[in-house]
């Protein structure tokens, strides 16, 4: 149990419907679930829309408060509401990278913001760190003075990645971060993410519906359906030997793309 990085115990989320105040109805967005992630590993979360994938991501990153359960990072419980502690260690990359970057700030200002808020580095150190991070994600240091609209989609996604790794986090959540990229840029991005995982020992939580990427990228996978965990285990085991009929359906719907060659 020593090398478990992130431990999630009995995490669940339910929304109360306030319209029925006599017999309160509860909508369970996420049934209680538990899982562990080790450093250098990737957990993939697969499911249809409305299966609670994004709710889980929001709970982990702290954007929503969980109804029950808790999250431990290196054996230390993450308090809900303690964002300083959480956002240093768990970062998130969103699907649409273009809309998450503030268009009125340069890349330097964008990347400077999390540093100012979370670290005690002085101006020169921050500048150095931004330079290094940009080079790490395959951009040039000169890109610092550019504005987000001057970049293409793939480069914007790299800037989001730079913003995610600049605080040296331990867990990165990729919420469909690869879905909107073009195929040739997507494979570049996958290579970059794998390299960073090697270098920094990151754990990834990959939310995706492309089973090909999931198969290539992840060590373990979790299948969600209507807020319930259907399967959790090694990716190769699940893809080769799915137990639940929804998992089978999901694999079958993409299987036709695998065949035909």
């Amino acid at each position: 149990m020593s090398n478990v990085l992130l431990q999630v115990v009995n995490l669940s989320k339910s929304y109360k419907d306030k319209n029925y105040w006599l017999n309160r109805r509860c909508i369970n967005a996420l049934e209680p679930l538990s899982f562990n992630i080790e450093a250098h590993k990737t957990l993939a979360i697969v499911g249809e829309t409305g299966s609670g994938k994004s709710t889980l991501a929001k709970l982990l990153v702290g954007a929503e408060l969980p109804s029950t359960g808790h999250i431990r990072l290196n054996g230390q419980t993450l308090e809900p509401g303690n964002f300083k502690q959480r956002c240093q260690h768990i970062r998130m990359i969103f699907q649409d990278s273009g809309t998450t970057l503030n268009p009125s700030l340069t890349i330097e200002q964008l990347l400077d913001e999390p540093l100012q808020l979370n670290t005690d580095l002085d101006e020169l150190e921050r500048y150095q760190l931004i330079r290094e991070t940009l080079q790490k994600v395959g951009l040039l240091a000169e890109h610092m003075n550019f504005y987000p609209h001057m970049f293409s989609g793939g480069q914007k996604q790299r800037i989001s990645l730079a913003r995610a790794i600049i605080l040296q986090p331990q867990v990165i959540i990729l919420d469909e971060a690869l879905a909107s990229l073009d195929p040739s840029l997507r494979s570049q991005m996958i290579n970059l993410l794998l390299d960073l995982q090697q270098q920094m020992g990151l754990a990834f939580i990959l939310i995706s519906h492309n089973l090909g990427i999931v198969r290539h990228f992840s060590d373990e996978m979790m299948v969600l359906y209507k807020g319930k965990v259907l399967e959790l285990g090694k990716t190769t085991d699940i893809l080769q030997n799915p137990q639940h009929k929804h998992t089978k359906k999901l694999i079958m719907s993409q299987r036709f793309q695998l065949l035909n060659r």
């Binding site: 195929p183 494979s187 090909g212 990427i213 993409q254 035909n260």
Partner: protein, 330 residues
């Protein structure tokens, strides 16, 4: 007989300084009853090409074409009005971004009934209204919308993206077209629903002999459903051939990279290994390379590549490259 035969179609964007060649001498040929995939990454001009065929580009785009034949008829000899009449009669298009393409001020029912062809209705004038409603309902059922009552009454903003997409497909099918141009018809959908839509299109192709031009940015998604594929890159023609040719023996380095880069296609590669990629990113319209536009990213590029290559044809497998990969297979 060729359904559509386009030779050297170029589309220019007029700007203040000098025009930008967004689509550069592209050929497209389709037989009747064929499903052709048109594959290219963003900015490859595939949607522009489709819009040019339909004729919905506005004034800032200028279209030049050497030959434009539709079922043996030379459309370049006709006046714009006549051309439009020919095209709208037999060609329909499913546009990208369904939310933006539907009329926000009218209900789905009104828009669908408007799309229904008058010639299909039989009966007296007092029966037509009812028949129109019935036809709209049948169309919705056809694309897999079960709750037609609720759908007909709602406005586009009340539906999800996936539902709007289905409504768009229903509208495109309303006139029973001979050629359907489907511009990313399943972009907003999940994989389980994608299969359903592709199966519908495939059955229409089989039963009604409807030809389909399937536009997609991902080679993976379309291979199962297409007979032939045309690949484009940055507004230039790259390669055309049957699906098997393109997938198993791509002649162009770009197609090779597309096939190799997707983790799904090469199921043999070990987990977490590096994927093959092309360096760099897709050039933007303002800074297009001269000659072959793949040049700066191409692993096989040589000095000759600053001139645009001529299209070579090997047994109906056309490729536009100075150094095709043809000799590496044998």
């Amino acid at each position: 007989m060729n359904l559509i035969d386009i030779r050297n179609l170029s589309i220019e964007l007029k700007t203040a300084t000098k025009p930008i060649l967004a689509v550069d001498h592209v050929n497209l040929k389709m037989r009747e009853g064929e499903v052709r995939g048109l594959v290219g990454e963003s900015g490859s001009g595939k949607s522009l090409l489709a819009q040019a065929i339909i004729g919905v580009l506005d004034e800032k785009w200028q279209v030049h074409v050497d030959r434009f034949h539709w079922r043996g008829q030379d459309l370049m000899r006709l006046s714009p009005e006549e051309r439009k009449a020919v095209i709208t009669k037999d060609v329909a298009m499913i546009f990208q971004e369904p939310m933006a393409c539907l009329d926000p001020t009218a209900t789905i029912g009104e828009q669908l009934e408007e799309a229904v062809d008058v010639a299909q209705l039989s009966g007296f004038f007092w029966q037509k209204r009812q028949q129109r409603k019935l036809a709209a309902m049948n169309l919705l059922h056809k694309v897999g919308i079960k709750k037609h009552q609720a759908c007909v009454k709602s406005f586009p903003h009340q539906l999800t993206d996936a539902l709007c997409q289905r409504v768009m497909i229903a509208m495109a099918l309303a006139r029973r077209p001979i050629l359907l141009i489907a511009d990313e018809p399943t972009a907003a959908m999940e994989s389980t629903n994608q299969g359903q839509i592709f199966r519908l299109l495939a059955s229409l192709n089989q039963l009604k002999n409807m030809s389909i031009l399937l536009i997609s940015h991902d080679l993976e998604n379309v291979t199962h459903w297409t007979n032939t594929i045309t690949v484009m890159y940055s507004g230039q023609f790259v390669e055309a051939g049957t699906t098997e040719q393109i997938f198993n023996q791509p002649y162009h380095p770009y197609t090779r990279a597309l096939v190799d880069s997707s983790p799904k296609a090469s199921s043999m590669i070990p987990n977490k290994s590096r994927l093959m990629t092309l360096p760099g990113s897709i050039p933007i319209l303002q800074h297009l390379p001269i000659g072959c536009r793949l040049g700066p990213r191409c692993p096989r590029a040589q000095q000759k590549c600053v001139h645009a290559p001529k299209i070579k044809s090997y047994h109906d497998h056309q490729v536009s490259c100075h150094f095709p990969l043809k000799d590496s297979y044998s």
